[in-house]
């Protein structure tokens, strides 16, 4: 028996909450917005359990989220967005959720738009639905020109690699099904994960579809990508794309050698 089935048998019975939808909100020092995000999720997306992943915040983000009625994973130190979101995937896998929605903690994703992702997922034949800013005709996204250029470059490259048009690969407003949850619980990119995640889905023969959503300017706090880091962001993601192309099996499957085993010495 593989460890995976062991895990599910052991895990399902005791930990399952009986609900199938989980909204994961990664948050790092978002005390200004987190209560609003949690409350609006509970109000406009009542089918979703809300899990805030407090990524080692130095402010009251975790406590505020808990008071607002969310469950909170408190990471002991700042892992970065990739590690925080992956903690959400691990939680969803462990508790047997069938769907996981990823919603930013800064209020730029409107939880009233979540039903669009769910509707697209329910149309079937898709493992991840990605909310795209650029598919609506009336879109208004006041990002600096450098940022938008970067997004379009990634969109162009990814569309070529994946073979289907991807308009907004950096969007973190996403809905995953069980297969995608299993994949990303095993392995999820580190620093700026969204673009690489699209590539990983592609290599694992999972299907992705975009759906138009409205997004808003950040409600408060500072973005994980400041203008000064844009160049680093570009270079890092481009490197990740190129490396991803050369990596035949990006994710460890059950039964493989451990990727971070201690004995890989010298």
């Amino acid at each position: 028996m593989s460890t995976e089935t062991l895990h599910e048998r052991g895990g399902r019975s005791r930990l399952t909450t009986g609900r199938s939808h989980l909204a994961v909100v990664p948050a790092y020092n978002e005390s200004a917005t987190i209560v609003g995000v949690v409350e609006s999720l509970r109000e406009s997306a009542p089918a979703f359990d809300v899990l805030v992943v407090d990524d080692g915040s130095t402010d009251e983000t975790g406590a505020l989220a808990r008071m607002a009625g969310a469950r909170v994973l408190s990471l002991p130190y700042n892992l970065g967005i990739g590690g925080a979101v992956q903690a959400g995937f691990l939680y969803a896998r462990e508790h047997g959720y069938a769907f996981l929605a990823q919603v930013d903690g800064d209020g730029q994703h409107e939880s009233t738009e979540l039903h669009r992702l769910v509707a697209t997922m329910n149309e079937g034949d898709v493992d991840m639905v990605c909310g795209s800013r650029f598919l609506t005709s009336d879109f208004h996204y006041p990002a600096p020109i450098s940022r938008r250029t970067g997004i379009h470059i990634f969109a162009f490259l990814l569309s070529r690699i994946v073979g289907t048009p991807v308009s907004d690969p950096t969007s973190g407003f996403r809905l995953y099904n069980r297969r995608a949850i299993e994949l990303f619980a095993r392995d999820y990119p580190h620093d700026y994960p969204e673009v690489e995640a699209v590539l990983m889905l592609h290599y694992h023969r999972l299907r992705m579809r975009e759906t138009p959503v409205q997004m808003y300017v950040r409600g408060g706090g500072t973005s994980s990508i400041s203008t000064g880091k844009s160049a680093y962001y570009m270079v890092k993601v481009l490197l990740a794309l190129l490396v991803g192309l050369a990596r035949r099996r990006p994710v460890v499957e059950p039964g493989d050698r451990a990727p971070v085993a201690a004995e890989q010495g010298v």
Binding site: L15, V53, R71, V72, L73, S74, L75, P76, Y77, L79, G83, Q86, A87, L90, Y91, E94, P259, V260, A262, Q264, G265, V266
Partner: protein, 137 residues
């Protein structure tokens, strides 16, 4: 190789060898990480004391002055060691990431169980909750 630089090179690599061995003995350096250091020190020592070998190596790689070949080889070892440590750091940060996630999941599970086990415990003010935890029932 001229006498004085040869002497310096021999002393240097002997000191390196001894320091590494002593660190392993005191458990300041794991054997796994010491192996590459020992290999470097031994090769450098061998080349420093056996000038014939160094001379033919420097001839083979086109270095006119044999001590420069020794520096060149030592630099190569340093590069390999640095790369090795970057890999080790990557592995460690991956391992601590897994630990941090695991810890957060267990922490949340414990919190849920404490919340459901003691009815109404969450309503108790903070100071008293600590008391309640220390003295069960």
């Amino acid at each position: 190789m001229p006498g004085r630089i040869q002497l310096v090179a021999i002393i240097g690599s002997v000191v390196l060898l001894l320091v590494v061995l002593e660190m392993v003995r005191r458990r300041r350096l794991m054997e796994r990480y010491a192996l590459l250091w020992l290999l470097s020190a031994l090769v450098l020592l061998a080349l420093a004391s056996w000038s014939g070998a160094l001379a033919s190596i420097s001839k083979a790689i086109g270095v006119i002055y044999p001590p420069n070949a020794l520096f060149f080889i030592a630099f190569g070892f340093v590069l390999v060691l640095l790369l090795h440590f970057s890999a080790a750091v990557s592995r460690l940060s991956d391992q601590t990431k897994v630990l941090a996630q695991r810890l957060a999941l267990l922490d949340e599970r414990l919190r849920q169980q404490e919340g459901t086990a003691g009815d109404g415990e969450l309503e108790v003010p903070d100071g008293q909750r600590e008391m309640a935890r220390i003295t069960p029932d």
